[in-house]
Amino acid sequence: MTGMYGALIIEPRAGERYPAQQDHVIQLSDWTDEDPMRALSKLKVQSDVYNFNQSTFFDFTDDVSKMGLQAALEKRQMWNQMRMSPTDLADLSAATFTFLMNGTTPAGNWNGLFQRGDRVRLRFINAASNSFYDVRIPGLKLTVIQADGQDVEPVTVDEFRFGPGETYDVMVEPQDDAYTIFAQSMERSGYARGTLSVRQGLTAPVPEPDSPEWLTMKDMMGAMGGGAMGHDMMKMDSMGQTKMDHSQMSGGMAMDHSMHGMQQGSDNPLAKPSSTIRHARTEYGASVDQRVDTPSTNLDDPGIGLRNLSQRGLRPQGHRVLTLADLQSIDGVLDDRRPPARELELHLTGNMERYSWSFDGLEFGKSTPVSLRHNERVRIILQNDTMMTHPMHLHGMWSELETDQGELRVRRHTIPVQPAQRISFLTTPHDLGRWAWHCHLLFHMDAGMFREVVVS
């Protein structure tokens, strides 16, 4: 947002697992000329102050002519009733931000070089204060080899989304002279851009940012978003049928499994994360504007604006977007295979109108620390009761993401939790002390989505 930053690369003692001829750090950030605290105070006054993609009267009349009055009204009814904006994809936008790649504006066009035939390692770091980026390099496959500095089974995709605090290391094998590295912000108000080329000064075509997509019922309600209540929305949203079916399935699966757990009884009840939703009593107050009772638990949702891109004609056929389900730590990374001894559940909460963010409806000042025992194996369930994605960063220990079946998947330090999603991870706190745990959207953190974790 302001100030200085840099990348810190730690090379493994034994050398990199995947050698590369070229190695570039690609650090994305967002810059504002405003005093950041002034920007925050404006959000406290009017939380949509930077959103210039709001639904207008003429969008409504367009919808009326396309889908009829009733459908156009229905499309808006839930949002209007709930006082939520379907285009509330980010708090800030290009209205105040310039999106930077390695400190360079899109017009400045940061340039990284390679020689034809090189394997090029790109170390993507999201160093932005408050912006998710959707990154792609048209014409190049991206083979993700590390997430948050930890080796993963290589997975080849065309695009990935990451939030502040997350890092992805990606291998590419460029054959042409020039490629555009294109990183549009999640709310689609702008982009960061640079060029990979065989010599200085070459450029490749720069895509247009996608038009912003309305949040869907799934983002509001989770797994039940595809059910009867979402039926009318489903016809109108550009969201595909398959996604809906999928989320319904995962909801059903979670319910089945909790029943199995009850029947078997003798098995370790903590083998799988609990699917019983337990809202904190402090979620029933002025600090929370919505709670989700049917969260989705699947990890293979690329998220709003990235769903079914090929079907919608926005990307070439077969375009693949990275999801959390694609990430699997390479053998040996996840070294603690003990089942969890206990389970903690916390909810990510907020009130968009007041611009207040919290865990369990308690902003930092009202909260108490989460107390963990040294070297215990513990499961933490995070349920997102808001309509924004929160990159949750737990300091001082790893967050080892598991599936809703309790299958360990990938070691992260920052896990993005999507709207109305419920995820869980295991951790083993090795290091004593008080640690920070927060949403890495820094305004969310400052507004209260911040906890202390005590390891003792």
């Binding site: 809202h279 904190a280 107050g285 929370v288 611009y355």
Partner: protein, 281 residues
């Protein structure tokens, strides 16, 4: 007509007052109520269950002395919104309607000021000094005083209690009941809506009505429904904080208020074209 109207209105005002009082009580009792709820409510997970009794300042590895880390949830913010600063052509008068607040997310000191300036002097003004407390996700209760000043009438002081916030379907509501000296009561309600024609061109319908429990001869206000104003303003937001507008405002008076105006030789209803500025900082 007047008598028929007055009694239900007084009752209404009393009912609103009672509601306000009970809400205020409920808010004050909040912490005690929550303690009980945690023991009995099945779904109400204890948000402090994972703390082992530690706090941000006590327990292992806590830093000595007062807590150093205070985030924005414990900081005070402030804002001044001048919703209407407009010239009314036919009256040759300037009207202002502003609201300022200072405080945290859930507790705020609020000032509302409304007034009418003509011929260089303040003809009448009404100023609320309020303590605002979050009632739920979208509404604040407001408790305080209101001071009315009249150049040609008699100043009034009121105890004020109200509710302000955002209703479903995005209506901005501001409703307040007042108790004054000599058993006077008053009730006001305002509603605003913002219709985005484009991202910057915004049409704002606005409605306001005033009721009084008792005739106020000095200030030309009758009991019952005294007046109703409907306005429509079209503004262009050069940026979100600065927007000039043009509009039209229609006001009508009723009951004794209308009678007083008639006997003073003034129109009972009025349509004004207005031009003004909306800005906040």
């Amino acid at each position: 007509m007047k008598r028929i109207l007055t009694k239900p209105l007084t009752n209404l005002i009393l009912a609103v007052s009672a509601f306000q009082a009970s809400t205020a009580l409920a808010q004050m009792d909040h912490s005690a109520m929550q303690m009980e709820a945690s023991a009995t409510t099945v779904d109400g997970r204890d948000p402090h269950a994972y703390s082992d009794g530690y706090t941000l300042t006590e327990g292992p590895y806590a830093q000595p002395g007062p807590r150093q880390l205070k985030l924005a949830d414990e900081h005070a913010f402030w804002s001044v919104l001048v919703d209407r600063l407009e010239y009314q052509k036919d009256n040759d008068s300037t009207v202002y309607d502003a609201q300022a607040w200072y405080g945290t997310t859930f507790n705020r000191f609020v000032i509302k000021a409304e007034g009418d300036i003509s011929n260089g002097t303040l003809e009448e003004s009404s100023t609320d000094l309020l303590w605002g407390h979050a009632l739920n996700a979208y509404f604040d209760t407001q408790l305080g005083i209101r001071l009315d000043n009249y150049r040609d009438g008699k100043d009034r002081r009121w105890l004020a209690m109200g509710v302000q916030g955002l209703a479903p379907y995005w209506f901005e509501l501001d409703v307040a009941a007042y108790v004054g000296e000599d058993g006077r009561t008053a009730f006001t309600a305002q509603a605003e809506y913002e219709l985005l024609l484009t991202q910057k061109l915004i049409l704002q319908p606005r409605a306001e009505l005033n009721l009084y429990g008792k005739d106020d001869l000095d200030n030309g206000l009758g009991s019952g429904l005294s007046d109703l104003a409907l306005g429509l303003r079209l503004r262009y937001e050069f940026n979100r904080q600065f927007a000039p507008y043009i509009g039209v405002e229609w006001t009508d008076t009723y009951g004794d208020t209308a009678d007083y105006r008639r006997s003073a030789g003034r129109d009972t209803s009025d349509t004004q074209f207005v031009a003004g500025l909306r800005f906040w900082f």
